[in-house]
Symmetry: C2
Subunit: 233 residues, 2 copies
């Protein structure tokens, strides 16, 4: 596990949005048990097997949550965006992490101490209900994604992944460039396919004028067609 040194925190205000159901006193309390850390691109925030020490909030940046599969083949379970939680599953299940988290770009995270957080959680049932709802929603995503990752073909999976990227990170100002610059490797891990297939299929999409590619920059030219490819499987 990374060595989390306490630093002066400039970002608690940002993550407040995640705790809209708390009152000022509770917010104040959490802010005193909070540490902020800058993580560099490609830096690992936590690793599979480690023990959670607190509730991690992503304040700025982008993070991938991924699992190591067979023969070192990686699968991206989830992409996190600010402002949002990461690593909460293991915390709530009282387990060690089952996945790892890595910054996709320079990011800022806040860590709220475990005990402090649970103290608030025990008292505030609105917060509990909110967490129950979001865990249940995520479980739904996970189940659905499992079906598509196993049943869709390469084209359908890649198309879906691009849509997931758009859903998660949105577009740049031009309204067509996906606002996330993943490596082909990461696109492959997200789509559950080999590197080669991700590259090849992306190239196909370009030839079909569904996307335009410029290095890691991907522009969606024909959203409707992309959705059709995804839906077709």
């Amino acid at each position: 596990m990374r060595d989390y040194k306490q630093k002066i925190c400039y970002c608690f205000d940002k993550i407040k949005a995640l705790f809209s159901v708390l009152n000022n006193e509770e917010l104040e309390f959490l802010s005193h048990h909070n540490a902020c850390i800058q993580v560099k691109k490609n830096e690992i925030i936590y690793k599979e097997g480690e023990r959670p020490t607190g509730l991690i909030c992503l304040s700025e940046g982008k993070v991938k949550i991924y699992k190591e599969g067979f023969g070192g083949r990686e699968q991206i379970v989830r992409l996190a965006k600010p402002v949002g939680f990461i690593g909460y599953r293991a915390l709530f299940a009282e387990e060690n992490y089952l996945a790892s988290a890595m910054a996709l770009e320079n990011s800022v995270i806040c860590i709220i101490e475990k005990d402090a957080f649970f103290e608030v959680l025990r008292k505030n049932s609105s917060l509990s209900l909110q967490i129950i709802k979001s865990l249940a929603t995520e479980l739904g995503f996970s189940n659905s994604r499992c079906v598509t990752l196993t049943q869709k073909h390469v084209r359908g999976r890649l198309a879906e992944s691009l849509l997931v990227l758009v859903d998660t990170y949105g577009f740049e100002e031009d309204g067509m460039t996906i606002s996330a610059y993943l490596s082909r490797e990461d696109i492959a891990s997200l789509s559950n396919m080999t590197n080669s297939n991700a590259i090849r299929t992306l190239r196909q999409f370009e030839q079909e004028q569904v996307v335009a590619i410029e290095g890691r920059k991907i522009k969606i030219l024909n959203m409707a067609k992309l959705e059709r490819i995804s839906d077709l499987g």
Copy 2:
């Protein structure tokens, strides 16, 4: 949705075990907002797209939770055993069902009215925490299973499914016969493969003396080897 008629309930005592954190008053309250229903083998309890009306508890029997995939290909998401909840994900996410539930054998379910349950939930933070924990645990399973279903080969997937069956339903008195009699079709849906492959691979396992087959009855002859096949992928 099935027409849930109120019936005299003989089974609330059984499902009480699920609510160990509630006091007698709360239990009493829930028991008055509870209906018990017998469902026959192959009967559908709820379908993808329907709206949850309450918290369903499986009191007796076995139930599969499955999703319809592409080209009607079914994937079993989870197997439920008594005593346990089913259909709670959609209820907590405040969504319609994303999966369907079908009885694998004659079963008894109890349905606790939605509003009554949430009323108790809002007041009892231990119950909330318990639910948070179990949702988080299940999310972990779901993520892990997704990796194995996509990355393991047919043999590994089938071996894992047999282990899941054992984990969930255990053995008969002989200590080797899996205490669940699924169709080959269901074994295939659980292992994310075609019918033919499930049958063929099961036959292979028999030839390798890992299992013994007698119709739907499956005996595990060599657990260690089965685990090895599963771990190898």
